[in-house]
Amino acid sequence: MTATLTEAMTTTDASSRGRGGPTRRRAASVLRPRKSVAFTILMAIFVVYALVPLLWLVINATKTQAGLFSSFGLWFSDDFVIFQNIWETLTYDDGIFLRWLGNTLLYVVVGAGGATLLATLAGYGLAKFRFAGRRAIFAVVLGAIAVPGTALAVPTFLMFSQLGLTNTPWAIIIPSLISPFGLYLIWVYAVDSVPTELLEAARMDGAGEFRTFFTISIRLLAPGIVTVLLFTVVATWNNYFLPLIMLSDPTWYPLTVGLNQWNAQATGVSAQPIYNLVITGSLLTIIPIVVAFLGLQRFWQSGLSAGSVKQ
């Protein structure tokens, strides 16, 4: 079960597989079926479901607050003010949005980067070295993800505040450094993709373990590492609950918490609804992660040739 998943996570491009191979005899078969229009239309409905809300977001980011309510949701209103909305989003409250964007980038680079590094080191260590308590570590790590994170927030908050870490970027970054799923992926992946013979050969040459890791193993692990990076980037970019608890000063907010605060300020005595900025801000929040996604997707495909070496 385990090996399949790692393979699964790192293998996305059909063209690089040897499937079909040289035996392409008939036009339509299990191996090379005919393209089906009906099938394509069926899947197109699926795609509509996936994309309509995003389309809604793009369209409504072009509207004024008044236009939001007075026009059909999936078409443009009379005013086309997307550039004004973007400008207002970026400059509202002395440009706090850009600050949030910067914070999010910081959390992603240090948090997701660090999580990937720690998971890679540990997964590799668990896969390639025998030491006492290896199995126990695995059980504890998997058990830990079953405990609801929201409910751990209070104890974590109290501990961090004792350490003076609350309301600092560390309160967000340190918990982000742990990716149990990433550890698991790298562990399973390293078992197959880094040949033990290769490590032994390196040891005979007198290379230190860490040098071997950083010069040889890390390349063999690349597809797995990229996959883990992708998931940790998404996780930190979307991180909401922890920053909500840990931070009281908006200057350290990530985008998600900031946007929710904008949405919440429509309430009560000094209410100031800015729904148009919430929508435009949401769009701007999504764009970088979507771009990163598409970028990393290509990376996977190139990482794949590295992965196929082992076969």
């Binding site: 660090g114 908050f157 004792q162 605060q261 005595v269």
Partner: protein
């Protein structure tokens, strides 16, 4: 690589420190926030302003930024860091967390009247009478001064107030020939008339809001909560409560209320297009209408809150002030800033300009303020109505020492009566039961 390595090392250092700290943590829970700080007197405040220092101030009021800037200009030695830690309950959660943790609370914090007893109870706020601020009593309206005095301690200074009034859409009323209701019976009648004439229009939107309900009970003469030290009494079925449910049950059971949740995008839209014809709400609402419901301009008017028997009486709805926390390292300076913030005319002017409704008698009695014509309200002198409402607020109200929690479970209990169109009394009984249970659990002596 080197930078990420040093980052890693730093992380490891922190982690190691943490590991040591966890051991200690299990043994002792965080110490409670300290007492009221050192005793002081009025002279200390001027000295503190002269000496200067740094303060942190949590507020979500739009005027806060301009007020802080004006303050720093007047007192260059003081540096105030303004933080918007979230709107109402979000801020309270963070304040509560900081209190629980024993650090991280600001020096000065915005707290609404309903939440004050909760924070005062846990000795988290400084008693300002030690700095002589209790002498400012005459500067504030009676109801707001009552709200910042909790259990014999002055735990804040009022910033704004929310005496309730009836905001109504004149255009809609004219269109259907509805007269402005003066009693609640007329209000119910108007609701029926409006629905019969146009089913898309509702007299008001109410899906159950704790602040609204408690204010309505307040106006009806109900006094469901009383506190005496750690003794709490709860009676959500007293005479006043029954007067209010008698009126409101009719609106709920006949489906005369719009089920658009308050403060949602659709609610704002409803206020603009006339589908929500009235609001019974605090005097701070004109500022919100002007800035956020542009389509309503010219249509809205203000009238006194309807009554049960024709005798004018109002209640407070929303509003709050600022307090000094016990965690403040410089309470004298914090109190001095607070005195300026909510008592100095320069600061109050800034506050009024942003659309706030004052708590200070100087403004409430100022002919210029009272006589100001509002363009949004079709030239009506709305402050004549609103300042009168401020004088009509009935006295003797108090909130629970755990009102923030109480309001959070309002939807679970009374909200169910709204959702199911069942009698409010059932929902209120359920609310009361849970509040009694909670009070007992928290160590209060609760009587019903």
């Amino acid at each position: 690589m080197s930078s990420s390595r040093s980052a890693l090392r730093r992380t490891l250092t922190i982690a190691a420190t943490a590991a040591l700290a966890i051991g200690g943590l299990a043994a002792c829970s965080p110490s409670a926030a300290g007492g009221g700080g050192a005793a002081g007197d009025p002279a200390d405040l001027d000295a503190a302003l002269e000496k200067g220092g740094e303060l942190t101030y949590w507020s979500w009021t739009p005027s806060a930024e301009a007020q802080v800037a004006a303050f720093e200009e007047a007192y260059p030695n003081v540096d105030v860091e303004l933080v918007n830690a979230g709107t109402n309950t979000e801020e309270y959660t963070k304040l509560q967390n900081a209190i629980k943790a024993g650090s991280g609370a600001p020096d000065v914090v915005q707290i609404e009247y309903y939440a004050l007893p909760q924070f005062a109870m846990s000795d988290s706020l400084v008693d300002l009478s030690q700095y002589g601020l209790d002498e400012l009593e005459d500067d504030y309206s009676a109801s707001t001064w009552g709200a910042v005095n909790v259990d014999g301690k002055l735990v804040g200074l009022p910033q704004d107030s929310g005496p309730m009034a009836l905001f109504y859409n004149q255009t809609v009323f004219d269109q259907f020939g509805i007269a402005v209701p003066e009693t609640w019976d007329q209000y119910v009648e108007a609701a029926r008339q409006l629905q019969a004439a146009d089913p898309t229009k509702f007299i008001t939107a109410d899906t159950g809001d704790a602040g609204f309900t408690t204010s309505m009970i307040w106006q009806a003469g109900g006094r469901p909560f009383s506190i005496d030290g750690t003794d709490v009494a709860i009676d959500l079925a007293d005479e006043g409560v029954q007067k209010w449910t008698g009126v409101w049950d009719q609106l709920i059971s006949e489906g005369l209320l719009s089920d658009t949740p308050g403060w949602s995008d659709e609610w704002y839209q409803g206020l603009g297009d006339g589908s929500i014809a009235t609001l019974v709400i605090g005097a701070w609402m004109p500022g919100v209408l002007e800035s956020s419901v542009p389509d309503g301009a010219g249509h809205w008017r203000v009238a006194p809150m309807p009554t049960y028997d024709g005798t004018p009486v109002a209640a407070e709805n929303g509003g709050g002030g600022q307090s000094v926390t016990s965690q403040s390292k410089n309470p004298a300076l914090a109190a001095a800033f607070l005195r300026w913030l909510n008592n100095d005319p320069a600061s109050i002017d800034v506050f009024l300009e942003s659309g706030g409704f004052p708590a200070t008698t100087a403004e409430l009695d100022d002919p210029e303020f009272v006589g100001a014509e509002s363009e949004y309200f079709g030239g009506q002198k709305i402050n004549e109505v609103l300042t009168q409402a401020s004088k009509d607020v009935s006295t003797g109200w108090s909130y629970l020492p755990y009102q923030v929690y109480a309001n959070s479970i309002f939807g679970d209990t009374v909200g169910q009566a709204y959702a199911n169109r069942t009698p409010l009394a059932d929902g209120l009984a359920d609310w009361q039961a849970q509040l009694v249970e909670y009070g007992d659990e928290q160590g209060f002596t609760v009587s019903e």
